[in-house]
Amino acid sequence: MSSFNLKVNGNRVSVTVDDDTPLLWVLRDELNLVGTKYGCGIGQCGACTVHVDGVAIRSCSVPASGLTDSEITTIEGLATDKLTPVQEAWKELDVPQCGYCQAGQIMTATSFLKQNPSPEKEEIRNAMHGNICRCASYNRIEKAVALAAKKMS
């Protein structure tokens, strides 16, 4: 067990957990930020995607104890006073079915669009390929990423 500080969604928080505890479980069980989802635990499905210093990572596969110097952003911290263009696009196109994977999808899309603000169709499909949507709302995810890019330009 060790105690350390994290910066999550702009707030300094202190946690006491085992050193090997993945960020996912620190967020969910210690900080009550349950928007980040558990899907597979081995970095294969993308449901747990969060941003570390703006870059999308799989929070199930990264111990929180190594992230004390980083800015961590979760789905809860994405919108400040209003929805982000990515969230707006998701809403406008009525993307979710069950909705469980969508936080991870939105986090992946947000980070991707930061790196590539005007992506081609194939670039979107490549970027989102790592996130599984079991309901297969893939058509709408693809369109929403394109729409978000348009909104941001």
């Binding site: 067990m1 957990v17 085992d18 505890t21 993945p22 479980w25 969910r28 069980d29 210690e30 009550n32 930020l33 349950v34 928007g35 980040t36 989802k37 558990y38 899907g39 597979c40 635990g41 081995i42 970095g43 294969q44 499905c45 993308g46 979760t74 789905i75 809860e76 994405l78 919108a79 929805l83 969230q87 998701w90 809403k91 009525d94 979710p96 079915q97 069950c98 909705g99 469980y100 994977c101 969508q102 936080a103 939105i106 499909r125 490549n126 989102m128 390929h129 790592g130 996130n131 599984i132 949507c133 079991r134 309901c135 297969a136 709302s137 893939y138 058509n139 709408r140 995810i141 693809e142």
Partner: protein
């Protein structure tokens, strides 16, 4: 099928009203009784009280409406679409409506189920009636206030208007309305007057989903709750011989380890500790039955297909005679593996069993039946059980089974503390209730250019096609027709998986029809239309598909999908299938990329009657089609000595973005009662894809997953 215009009801016993202390009107109705197809109003209305209701409409004195939706939401969209139907007849602006998941009272619940794509179909009449009755009461209250006859007043968009042009908002009369008699008869709107039904309404949980608010079972926590991982036998047919929990108990955060049945629960202060604790258990497993492998199942199912003693499920004419007189006989055997459901939210449930009550919270498709099973298991009265449903991160049939609820209840009962059982992905895939492996053998006799006989045998693990499935197309279309089935009892647990049986049966039959079309030198679509021309709608009560509706659906798909006129380097495949009361036809366009199929587009025509919420409806079809293509292409789940070969997404392949086609959906325009959409889009997809692949490569695919037959190795999907 019935005409929707000007239907009146006299079923007021489903409805009660009362004034709210805080101002406003509360309308309660028994959604489940009301939505039951065969339900009759209770004889003695006076014996009903508010406890008998499970769905409520609250109209506040500002006119805003809250609808408490009672049905489980698993991503099929009923939490949005069912309240839309009430709001339509109540005639309030959709923007003034808030939808909440109804609180549950298992004592009074009989049919609170999400499954079989039936929620909208059964709910249609009752929901409209409820909204219309509420509206009539508000109109009656306004008329009384004005001292005019109610028939001279109209209500629209939450405002009541009389002949003089005076207006009152719903909120202005709710308190008076609450004291009025429930009207005996009301008229329902004509579909041409719909303002909410047929217009896109986004998911009512949208904002919570996209901002990460707690919604799902896995998100639920409660004071003092322990997180629990459960070690279950790694192979079907095993039990615990001995175990040592010393190392597990040494894991930081682990508070308790208990054995229950053939399982061991590790309780901890957080999920990670419970998972680590479980891994640290030393367990010796012993065999307690046969350890079955996929090769054993293969053999057993083949034996069934070869057997002469199967259960006859439907028989018309004389197939033996047709085969004896045939010019040619075509025979194929189709094979599918087990499939896990793989809901993105793994199975989980919260339970707190105390002397006073049993509190259960989580994602479950069958709360009533599950609550009863819990009561039996821990010897409690059903009245002690309070079950709350959360939004579900997918269901696909898996959450019909309450095994995980029983585990949580038993652990809480034994340890006397609130617990939440959480399956890891590996637990979820290895302790599944799988789509059973199935084989179909289909034979057809051809004579003088037509199909004279059709004989289908089903060999499945544990159970067979249910209900009216043996009467689905081509029953009624071929004079000599026979369906038989048999099963092999395995200790591997199996159950419903999105569009049970038809999810694979449709592939087998729709692939087979294309082979018949080739033999008969007929266009694949034309063959289906020719067969459907033999069917007389309504003649056989067991045949519930409509030839007319299927023909219209097929023609719409062929037209919108440019059937027979593919783009260059594109190959097409067709399939049409009726299931869950909905008719669907699909045209799949593929191209070849290094000889491997790339699915480009699927054009879908659907006849589900009136489309309540087009955006939600299309979402279901898009998802169902891609799900069907994904599992037909990649879904591969086998067992070796009782143990599944895959337990996570690194080796178990689900379809992902780059493999998905564009899905274009068109609805047949009619005013018939709506039917469900959660399942019917899926069954035709695999068949249409197989037909496109055959048209492109001449490869006849008879086994799922196709990827194996297409000589591609199962790849590690590290991303």
């Amino acid at each position: 099928m019935k005409d929707q215009n000007k239907v009146t009801f006299s079923r007021r016993s489903f409805i009660r009203t009362s004034a709210l202390a805080s101002g406003g009107l509360l309308i309660g109705f028994n959604f489940l009784t009301a939505c039951k197809e065969t339900a009759k109003p209770p004889v003695d209305i006076s014996k009903l009280n508010f406890n008998d209701f499970n769905a409520f409409i609250k109209i506040a004195d500002n006119g805003y409406v809250t609808i408490y939706s009672p049905n489980p939401e698993i991503g099929q969209g009923v939490k949005t679409s069912m309240p839309m139907i009430i709001a339509e007849e109540l005639d309030v602006p959709w923007e003034h409506v808030t939808v909440k998941q109804g609180d549950l009272d298992t004592k009074n619940f009989q049919r609170q189920v999400a499954g079989g794509s039936q929620s909208i179909r059964f709910g249609w009449d009752a929901l409209r009636q409820t909204g219309a009755i509420a509206k009539q009461m508000l109109v009656n209250a306004a008329a009384a206030k004005w001292g005019v006859d109610a028939s001279t007043c109209k209500a629209s968009d939450g405002v009541i208007t009389n002949a003089n042009g005076d207006t009152l908002g719903y909120g202005d009369v709710v308190n008076e309305a609450a004291t009025l008699e429930v009207p005996e008869n009301v008229s329902l709107k004509s579909p041409k007057d719909y303002k909410i039904i047929g217009k896109d309404a986004i998911n009512v949980d949208m904002d919570a989903i996209i901002t990460g608010q707690p919604l799902f079972g896995l998100d639920y926590t409660n004071e003092g709750m322990k997180y629990v991982s459960v070690a279950r036998p790694p192979a079907f047919g095993q039990k615990i011989k001995a175990f040592d929990a010393t190392k597990a108990k040494a894991v930081n955060g682990v508070s308790e380890v208990i054995k229950f049945g053939d399982k061991i629960a590790v309780l901890a202060s957080n999920t990670w500790a419970s998972m680590k604790g479980k891994k640290a258990l030393d367990i010796e497993w012993a065999n307690d039955g046969t350890l079955e492998s996929t090769s054993d199942h293969d053999e057993e199912l083949n034996k069934i297909l070869d057997s002469k003693n199967l259960d006859v499920r439907r028989e018309d004419g004389n197939v033996e005679k047709a085969f004896a007189e045939a010019d040619k006989i075509i025979e194929r055997t189709y094979e599918s593996p087990f499939l896990p459901h793989n809901c993105m939210e793994p199975m989980n449930f919260y339970a707190n069993v105390t002397d006073e009550k049993v509190h259960l919270v989580g994602p479950i498709q069958t709360p009533a039946g599950t609550a009863r099973r819990v009561a039996n298991l821990i010897d409690r009265n059903e009245e002690d059980i309070h079950l709350e449903m959360t939004r579900m991160g997918g269901g696909f049939g898996r959450r019909l089974y309450g095994d995980f609820v029983l585990e949580a209840a038993e652990i809480s009962h034994l340890t006397k503390q609130p617990v939440k059982v959480i399956f890891s992905r590996e637990d979820d895939m290895a302790a599944g209730i799988y789509r059973p492996a199935i084989k179909y053998r289909i034979r057809a006799s051809l004579k003088d250019g037509s199909v004279t006989g059709y004989h289908l045998k089903e060999a499945a693990i544990n159970s067979n096609m249910y209900g009216l499935i043996p009467n689905f197309f081509p029953a009624g279309a071929i004079a000599n027709y026979k369906v038989e089935s048999g099963n092999y009892k395995s200790n591997i647990t199996t159950g419903a998986w999105r569009a049970p049986y038809t999810n694979f049966l449709a592939f087998a039959e729709q692939s087979f029809f294309d082979e018949l079309a080739i033999e008969l030198n007929t266009d694949a679509v034309q063959l289906r239309l020719d067969l459907l021309a033999n069917v007389e709608d309504g003649k056989d009560p067991n045949i519930q598909y409509s030839a007319k509706r299927m023909i219209d659906t097929i023609k719409l798909a062929a037209e919108k999908g440019n059937w027979g006129k593919p783009n260059s380097n594109t190959y097409q495949g067709f399939a049409a299938y009726y299931s869950h009361n909905t008719h669907v036809a699909e045209v799949v366009d593929i191209s070849l990329d290094n000889g491997q199929p790339k699915v480009e587009k699927v054009t879908v025509a659907v006849d589900c009657g009136i489309v309540v919420n087009p955006t939600g409806a299309k979402n279901q079809i898009e998802g169902g089609v891609i799900d069907g293509i994904g599992h037909a292409m990649y879904g591969d789940f086998s067992f070796e000595k009782g143990k599944p070969d895959d337990t996570n997404f690194n080796t178990y392949r689900l379809i992902r973005m780059k493999e998905t086609p564009i899905v274009d959906t068109y609805f047949v325009d009619n005013e018939l009662s709506p039917t469900g959409l959660g399942e019917p889009g899926l069954p035709p997809a695999g068949g249409a894809l197989a037909n496109a692949i055959r048209n492109a490569t001449d490869k006849v695919l008879t086994k799922q997953p196709f990827i194996k037959e297409l000589n591609k190795r199962k790849t590690d999907l590290t991303v």
